[in-house]
Symmetry: C2
Subunit: 257 residues, 2 copies
DNA sequence: TTAACGGTTCACATAATGCGAACGGTGGAC
DNA sequence: GTCCACCGTTCGCATTATGTGAACCGTTAA
């Protein structure tokens, strides 16, 4: 769901949160550094920082503001909404059987957030998971497969909101081209990217549904193009992916009961 | 550091964040439920919710707003400021050698946040870690030990900010009584609580310093009073605690080089 | 069919925020 | 040692963004 609708939006809260996100992204920022990233005079930014500090979302280290540990603590509470445990098992399995990197990503507000990733059985470092790892739908394998299952209207809403930034040379830039490709993807049940998200990377991905049959995210496997045979990508690897999705969804239905 | 100083504080951001925290605490809230928890008319709360939604801090499930998974993603980035890996090892060890529950908590804004806890070698469930698990300093073992190492002025600042809520019958309510007890704690290097935080629970705790010798949090071990011999608490268990702290700080110094 | 309930919208008054200039403290350059 | 540049902080004022409450809709239950 993109839920493009929404009543009045408070400017003050918006900029405060944007400042928090910048602090997170840069692993700490000083007032002078934020000046220029945020429009408005230093004094305004100062007020926002004071507020974030007083509400304990940031901590001061000298003159630089750093995200508080409390933020992690809060995040822990947000985590349980997704079946992280199940995701870990399924992803580990998928990475082991294919020998490539597997990921489960959560769908939220028309973006994909990495929940868990593993490469050849070993979990990816936490460094790889974070704010910057919000993927678009139009240039990811699972993303395209998700779009393919959405109503046309909703697809438009997602593209309207996020655009179609060109990450690599191969990224689809044309809206109609993307829309036209969705029918085929929908039919075969999985999407692929051929260097469309990162150079040299090919990936297969598919949507994951919860017990109520709503899409909760995407599962994907992929690796370097030189190593992966395109025929295999469309046959064995895609099969293993879809099997993993089946297993995932079976586990979700079991959890619910 | 409590850093009681702080310039102008923005009311709008403050209430937005407070709403977010309530949503987190209750695992999702509807507008009607928030009305009453937050003062102000529904329409104001609605604006805040719309803002949090647009900024992707919450997600809608029907009429209830739930914390977004993105919040977890953001939290991951805040985590690395603390030596979680080291903490896990040390806490696991301490729990194993003592046979009781051990915890490492992070000191921030005059409160202690659980970073990692283990009981008899097994990690505690994630459920036990969260917003509600922000401990006070005045009624926790590690907290009192931390206060004992602070300047008098800073201790006052902490108490001024957070007060001394009475969690159990045994909780110290008198400010002077607390202040007077700190000298003794400081001398022996560890603090204890005798049912002051939870009924039937006794705990020993001590501060943990980073390579720069500033307090980053507290380590503690404890368990049910009926099982723990008070003499042992002050001797063997305290010894093992302090040894664990040593190990912790040694690892931190090694990390820095 | 109606009433109750909850979310959403709107126009208005006001108070909270944005603003810019001035202040103060610190560190480096000359 | 002095001066300058830099950065965080403070303050008063103008204005605009927010708080407010009433009215509006859509849904559900009586």
């Amino acid at each position: 769901m993109v839920e493009e609708i929404g009543g009045r939006t408070l400017k003050t809260t918006g900029t405060s949160l944007r400042i928090l996100e910048l602090i997170l992204e840069y692993d700490g920022l000083a007032l002078a550094e934020l000046d220029g990233m945020i429009d408005g005079p230093k004094s305004s930014i100062h007020s926002h920082l004071s507020t974030l500090h007083r509400c304990r979302y940031v901590v001061r280290e000298g003159d630089t503001y750093v995200a508080s540990f409390r933020l992690w603590s809060m995040g822990q509470r947000a985590k349980h909404r997704y079946p992280v445990k199940v995701a870990e098992e399924v992803v580990d399995d998928l990475a082991a059987t294919t020998g490539e990197e597997a990921n489960f990503t959560a769908l939220e507000h028309g973006r994909l957030l990495i929940v868990y990733g593993a490469s050849e059985g070993a979990p990816l470092a936490d460094n790889d998971v974070g704010v910057q790892d919000e993927h678009y739908l139009h240039n990811t394998a699972a993303g395209k497969a998700i779009l393919a299952e959405m109503e046309r209207e909703e697809v438009e809403a997602v593209i309207d909101r996020w655009g179609m930034p060109q990450e690599t040379q191969a990224t689809i830039r044309d809206r109609n081209q993307l829309l036209n490709s969705l029918a085929e993807i929908s039919e075969r049940g999985y999407g692929i990217v051929d260097e469309e998200s990162a150079p040299g990377l090919v990936v297969v991905g598919a949507p994951v549904h919860d017990a109520d049959d709503t899409i909760i995210g995407g599962l994907s496997v992929g690796g370097p193009k030189y190593r992966i045979d395109f025929a295999a990508l469309h046959s064995e690897i895609a099969d293993e992916l879809l099997e993993a999705v089946e297993e995932f969804e079976r586990a979700l239905r079991a959890d619910r009961s």
